[in-house]
């Protein structure tokens, strides 16, 4: 028996805008009520949401794993930093140029990646994530080497001199994140999103249906790279520093973790996953210090607990948090007949087990 609908229930256009507006309201309310540190965390979450949402489209919908999303963030961040430093461009222009630059990079990587499957794609993107940010060390004259580049970002004049910078950063980041989410939701629902799912589930059948499989795969990489580039651009202005230490392979892996923990292929999952990777380490640190653990132990505990949380969430919800929530919802409301009969349809030949949506990735060799 299949307990989940085949794909995410897709909301109608006005409803998506309404949800985005509600989220924007929540962000404004929280950023005003909470202190500067929490504002910084809001910005951080919004940045992660932007990057993870792109990744979840790439890996969840088009079925291509990427362990190099952090490399695209680095491209976006360095582009923004260089434009702001040397040309004094306004941030919005720098953001747009960063998006274009990462789109080009994503296209190049996508063309190479479209031929690769499963572990080979994972290995290639992994080495991209390792090697590309390290080039900042090689050209210290341009990229500032280990020290990185400092970015100056200020609040606009119309907000008055006393408006806190962190709140403005949280607003800008959240605005970009929400616009990205709405656009990605549209894409998810469009012909392009359908093509991605078709390619993911069975590329031969997709090709027979007249879908240009390679183009669909490359486009997914471009979209995901643009999201990462904008996230990197935001990270540059929020932290005020672009240094290679922030864009290691650990960042790429953390982003994939967020996408999977939240629920791969779902946009709400990008939000849940980002909340987990930003908030869990902070809360555990707070808990550790308030229980009087020594600082050397206390500083190790968060990451160890974070590791345990990853294992436990995966054991409890193999489909991620969003999958778990959907299952809980289904338990209360009973089976959704319409989506089951309409979306589930006859099981594809390759689906062998109950957990079909996730299993498709395996058959495709996503990992």
């Amino acid at each position: 028996m299949r307990s989940l609908p085949r794909s995410a229930p897709v909301l109608s256009g006005p409803l998506r805008l309404l949800i985005a507006a509600v989220l924007a309201g929540i962000v404004v309310l929280l950023s005003v009520k909470l202190n500067a540190f929490r504002d910084y965390q809001i910005a951080e979450i919004a940045i992660d949401v932007t990057a993870v949402a792109g990744l979840t489209m790439l890996t969840g919908l088009s079925g291509q794993i990427s362990l190099g999303q952090g490399a695209f963030m680095a491209i976006g961040a360095y582009t923004t930093a260089l434009l702001l430093l040397h040309l004094n461009w306004p941030f919005i222009t720098a953001l747009a140029v960063s998006a274009v630059a990462t789109a080009a990079a994503g296209g190049i990587v996508g063309v190479a990646a479209a031929r690769l499957r499963g572990p080979y794609l994972a290995g290639a993107t992994l080495m991209l994530g390792v090697a590309l940010p390290a080039l900042a060390y090689v050209y210290p004259g341009v990229f500032g080497g280990d020290q990185g580049l400092n970015v100056v970002f200020t609040t606009p004049a119309f907000l008055g001199p006393s408006f806190p910078l962190t709140r403005w950063q949280a607003w800008v980041s959240s605005a970009v994140a929400l616009v990205t989410l709405v656009l990605l939701a549209n894409l998810h629902r469009s012909r392009i999103g359908r093509n991605w799912r078709a390619v993911r589930d069975n590329d031969v059948a997709a090709a027979l249906d007249g879908i240009n499989v390679a183009a669909a795969r490359v486009l997914a990489f471009v979209v995901s790279a643009v999201c990462a580039g904008m996230a990197g651009s935001l990270l540059a202005i929020v932290t005020g520093l672009v240094a290679p230490g922030a864009y290691t392979i650990t960042l790429s892996i953390t982003l994939l973790t967020a996408a999977v923990i939240g629920g791969l292929g779902t946009l709400p999952g990008a939000l849940w996953g980002s909340l987990v990777i930003v908030l869990v380490p902070t809360y555990v640190t707070d808990a550790a210090t308030s229980h009087g653990l020594s600082s050397s132990v206390g500083s190790n505990i968060p990451i160890a607990v974070y590791g345990a949380v990853l294992i436990l969430v995966m054991l409890a919800f193999p489909q991620g948090i969003q999958g778990g929530l959907r299952r809980l919802l289904a338990a209360f409301t009973g089976p959704d007949r319409k989506s089951r009969t309409w979306r589930a349809g006859p099981a594809p030949l390759t689906a062998q087990r109950d957990e079909a949506p996730a299993d498709q990735h395996e058959k495709e060799g996503t990992t």
Partner: protein, 299 residues
């Protein structure tokens, strides 16, 4: 020329360490389609076990050969058990869910092992006591120590042993059958769970051997060492064609050589970029690695 030979010697030594780890990646991927991110950290644990044994035994003035042997065997035994424990706790419950779910679970194990080791052994570098003789021999201007030679021989013996095990024994045949088709293997009466456990044990034992030898060779270990070695070893497994045991051996040596040459001739900052370039160049022409078989397209 002498510099070239020296880089070959150093590259083969580090390549042998990488190849031992790459074998674990490739075997584990073969049977359960998992990139075992915790594999490098298993190596790190093996390294620390070897360190503790060497420190304890060397303080009692045991003969050097015995100390080294015990450290090697002890590290391998411990990591073998650890590998099986990890499989039972963190991977086995997820074998029937998405491959990415296991991947994240592996990341969790990796973090837990790293931070656990940091809690127990501290965050700094631990210096291996120098028990090994530094004597060696020179040829054509290059210098190779007997230790390098010995470690290379041990690595080759382990790899050869693994190859024979996988190809000549019943259990090895079961592993290959499982890698080919899990359901058909089960229908043939193969105990799938036990074979997966065996694969983890073998992979982890090799990682443990690599870890102990690296500790003795580079003389410094820390809790984070496994991560970077793991990345290169995984790259080697991909380069050689995942699931292909001789491929992983050759590609491991190759990556060791590339790393050694780019360290020597260019600069260590470029090493990863060059390995990446080689990997992409190979994958563009052979999308399944140097020796990988064509992935069976769905019919």
């Amino acid at each position: 020329m002498s510099a070239f030979l020296q880089y070959v010697v150093n590259g083969l030594t580090s390549g042998a360490f990488i190849a031992l780890v790459a074998l674990g990646y490739t075997m584990i991927y073969g049977v359960i389609r998992l990139i075992n991110f915790a594999h490098g950290d298993v190596l790190m644990v093996g390294s620390f076990i070897g360190y503790e044994l060497v420190v304890t035994l060397a303080a009692r003035h045991w003969p050097v050969a015995l100390v080294v042997l015990l450290a090697l065997v002890g590290g391998m035994a411990f990591t073998g058990g650890l590998g099986m424990l990890i499989e039972r706790v963190a991977y086995q419950p997820l074998l029937n869910s998405s491959r990415l779910a296991i991947l994240i679970s592996a990341l969790g194990v990796s973090l837990a092992l790293e931070q656990g080791a940091q809690l127990i052994f501290g965050a700094g570098f631990s210096a291996f006591p120098s028990v090994l003789p530094s004597a060696g021999f020179s040829f054509a201007g290059a210098h190779a120590s007997y230790v390098q030679l010995g470690m290379f021989v041990i690595s080759v013996l382990l790899m050869g042993g693994l190859y024979l095990f996988v190809h000549k024994t019943m259990a090895g045949t079961a592993m290959r059958a499982l890698a080919m088709d899990k359901d058909a293997a089960r229908l043939m009466g193969i105990n799938v769970q036990r074979t997966i456990l065996l694969t983890f044990m073998l992979g982890s034992v090799l990682a443990g051997a690599s870890g102990v030898m690296q500790g003795m060779y580079y003389t410094e270990i820390n809790f984070f060492m496994g991560f970077l070695i793991g990345l290169r070893a995984f790259t080697a497994a991909v380069l050689g064609g995942i699931g292909n045991i001789p491929g992983a051996m050759v590609a491991g040596l190759l990556i060791g050589l590339i790393g050694s040459f780019s360290d020597g001739y260019i600069s260590s900052e470029w090493s990863d970029a060059i390995i990446f370039a080689v990997l992409i160049a190979v994958l563009v022409f052979k999308p399944t690695g140097l020796f990988g078989e064509r992935v069976a397209e769905r019919v």
